[in-house]
C-alpha cells in the first residue's frame, strides 16, 4: 500500500526530503517495496496545497528553490486543518523548533494522532517536551511516533538502539550532540577567539543570529532529554537536565587543555543508576585518547555503554538538509 504523506513545514528538511524521494523513487520501490504519494503540504510562508491524487513534487521543489508561493492545488487550510481533513496516513512534522513551548508542533502531532495518522518528525520541540504524552497517544491508537532526526540528524542513533541494539541494556550515554559548538571549539583550538569562531559559524550557517540555543547548551539539552526518554524509557523533563554551555571557555582554557594532552568538548551525558536516570550538558576536558576527543568540526558522536557489548559508538553528521531529510525517509521506511 502506498504511503500517503502530508508535510507540515517546507524549509530545508522538507525540501531535502522531497529531493531524496524524487531521486530515489525507483530504487526505494525496487529495493524496499516502498511507494509513496505526497498529498498535502502546509507552510506558513509557502501556503497550503492538497490533492488526494498527489501533488507535483517537481513543482513544489521549484517553488521552494525560487522562494515562491505554491501555485497548484491551493487550499484555504491551515496546517491543523490539512492534518485533519487530508486522507494521508503519515504526517511529516517539519515545522520550526521551539524548545520553550514545543508549539505549534505539539498541536500538529496531537491532531495527527487524533485523526489516526502516524507522525514522523525531526522537530526537537515535541520530542524533548512531550515525548511520553505523545508516544502514549500514538500507542493507544496503534500509531507510530518516530523521531530519528531529532538527535544527530540522519545519523541513526535512535533507530540503532531500537533495532540492532535491541536486547542490550543501555546503562549510560555520552555524546557530542551539537555541531555548532563543536565547530567553534575546533576553530578555537586552531587559535581563533570565541567571538571570531562564532562569527565564522554564523557565516557558514551553522549558528543562528541569536546563537544562544547552541552556545548555551540548550539544543544539546533538548537532545539529551530525548535520548534519555527514548533510549532509557524514562520520563525526564528538560528542566531536570543540568546545562552549561561553552560561552565561558577562553583561549587560555583551550591552551591549558592542550598542554595537559586534553581537549574541550561540550558533552551531553545520561546515566542510569538503580533505575534512576540523570542527565547533564557541560563542557569537559577529555584526554586526547578518549574516543570522543577525536570528533572534530560539525561532526557529532555518541558512545553508548551497554551491558552486553560494553561501549559502542556511532559517529556521523549532526545536521544538514539531505542528512535530516534522510532521517525522515528512514522513519518512513520503518512504518
Amino acid at each position: 500500500m502506498k504511503q500517503r504523506l502530508v508535510l507540515v513545514g517546507f524549509g530545508n528538511v522538507g525540501q531535502g526530503l522531497l529531493e531524496i524521494l524524487l531521486k530515489k523513487r525507483q530504487e526505494l520501490q525496487a529495493r524496499y517495496g516502498y511507494e509513496f504519494v505526497v498529498v498535502g503540504i502546509a507552510d506558513v510562508a509557502w501556503g497550503t496545497a492538497y490533492n488526494p491524487n498527489g501533488l507535483n513534487i517537481e513543482a513544489l521543489l521549484k517553488a521552494g528553490k525560487a522562494r515562491q508561493k505554491f501555485s497548484q492545488d491551493l487550499k484555504e487550510w491551515d496546517a491543523l486543518t490539512l492534518i485533519k481533513e487530508s486522507d494521508a496516513n503519515v504526517v511529516c512534522e517539519l515545522a520550526f523548533t521551539n524548545l520553550q513551548t514545543g508549539e505549534p508542533a505539539i498541536s500538529h502531532c496531537k491532531a495527527a494522532f487524533s485523526a489516526g495518522k502516524h507522525v514522523v518528525t525531526s522537530n526537537k520541540g515535541p520530542a524533548a517536551l512531550a515525548y511520553r504524552e505523545l508516544k502514549t497517544m500514538a500507542d493507544e491508537k496503534g500509531l507510530r511516533f518516530l523521531i530519528e532526526g531529532t538527535v544527530m540528524s540522519g545519523t541513526p542513533v535512535l533507530n540503532l538502539c531500537a533495532g540492532p541494539l535491541a536486547g542490550c541494556e543501555i546503562i549510560a550515554a555520552r555524546g557530542i550532540l551539537n555541531g555548532t559548538t563543536n565547530y567553534i571549539l575546533t576553530q578555537m583550538e586552531g587559535g581563533m577567539s570565541y567571538d571570531e569562531a562564532l562569527k565564522k559559524a554564523q557565516e557558514l550557517g551553522y549558528a543562528e543570529a541569536d546563537p544562544s540555543g547552541d552556545v548555551e547548551g540548550y539544543d544539546a539539552r533538548g537532545k539529551v532529554t530525548i535520548l534519555a526518554n527514548v533510549v532509557m524509557n524514562t520520563s525526564l523533563k528538560i528542566a531536570e537536565v543540568s546545562c552549561k554551555g561553552i560561552t565561558g571557555i577562553t583561549l587560555q582554557d583551550i591552551e591549558k587543555a592542550k598542554k595537559a594532552g586534553s581537549r574541550w568538548k561540550l558533552i551531553g551525558s545520561i546515566k542510569k543508576e538503580e533505575n534512576r536516570v540523570t542527565a547533564s550538558v557541560a563542557p569537559e576536558m577529555l584526554p586526547l585518547t578518549h574516543p570522543l576527543a577525536g570528533v572534530m568540526g560539525a561532526t557529532n558522536a555518541i558512545t553508548f555503554t551497554t551491558d552486553l557489548l560494553g561501549d559502542v559508538s556511532i559517529v556521523g553528521p549532526g545536521a544538514g538538509r539531505t542528512e535530516t531529510g534522510f532521517s525522515i525517509l528512514s522513519d518512513l521506511l520503518k512504518i
Copy 2:
C-alpha cells in the same frame, strides 16, 4: 510463537548465547515479546542432546563450565542429523570457523535450509565463502540467513546497514576489522617488539597458537568479503580481495609513523566504482586526525561512506563470548 532453537557448536559463543538467554528470559519476553526454547544442541566435544520439550539450559551451562559431556537427553545423532530430525525452526550455527573450505558449517547451513529452518551464525566460513549461494537457498524457501556476528562480533554492523541505514547507498567502507592485529600494533606503539606483542596477544587469548589467520590479514579479508557481499549486494570471492598482513611492520616503521604524526593500522577497504566493487586488506599509515587512527587495542571500527549521510562510523568490540553471543540474540530477535 516460541522460537525453537538448535545450537550446533557449544564453545564460547554457544555458551555466551545461553548465558544471555537464561539471564534475560523475562526481560526479552516483557520488552520484545520474545520467547524461546532450546530443543537441541550438538558439539563434537560435548555430544548431542535433544528434547522437543526443551533442554535444561542450566545443566548445559554447568557441563560447559566443567568441561564435561552432556548427561541429559542424549542422542546418537551427529549435527547434520540433529538439524534434519529436530523440530526446531532456527539453527544457530556456532561451530568452528574454517576460511579454506567453510566446512562443516556450510553443510550445516544447507541442511538447515533444506529442512525449512532459519540459520543464524557468527561463523565467518559460510558467510565469506558461500554467502550468495546460501542467501539464495534461504530466499527461495522464505527463510532467513542472518550473520551479524561474522563482522565486528556483536557490534551491529550488518544490521545497521540493513535497518537504520536503509535508503542510503553505501559507496565505500573502511575499517579496522581484526582486534588482534590492532592490539599488536597498539602495543608496538608502546615500544614492544612485534614478537613480544604477539606473545602477549596469545597470552590474553586474542591470538591463537598459529596466529597467521590474524597477522597475515586472512581474518580481516574474510570479513571484508562478507561486508562487500552483504552491504554492497555483490558476489565478490575471497580470493579477489588483495591481502597483506602486519608481519612486515617493524618498530622502525612504527617510529617513522610517529614522527610523521601518523599511526599504522590494518585497514580493510571496499569501494564501489561504476557498479564494480573492489576490496583489499593492507596496513596503512593514517594521520592521527583520521577517525580510525584513534581506535586502539582490541576495539574494531568501520566507516561507511554513504550518498545521503556522508561518513558514518561505528566503533565497538570485535570479539568476545558475551559480545558474539549477543550478535546471535540480535539476529534471533530479527526473525
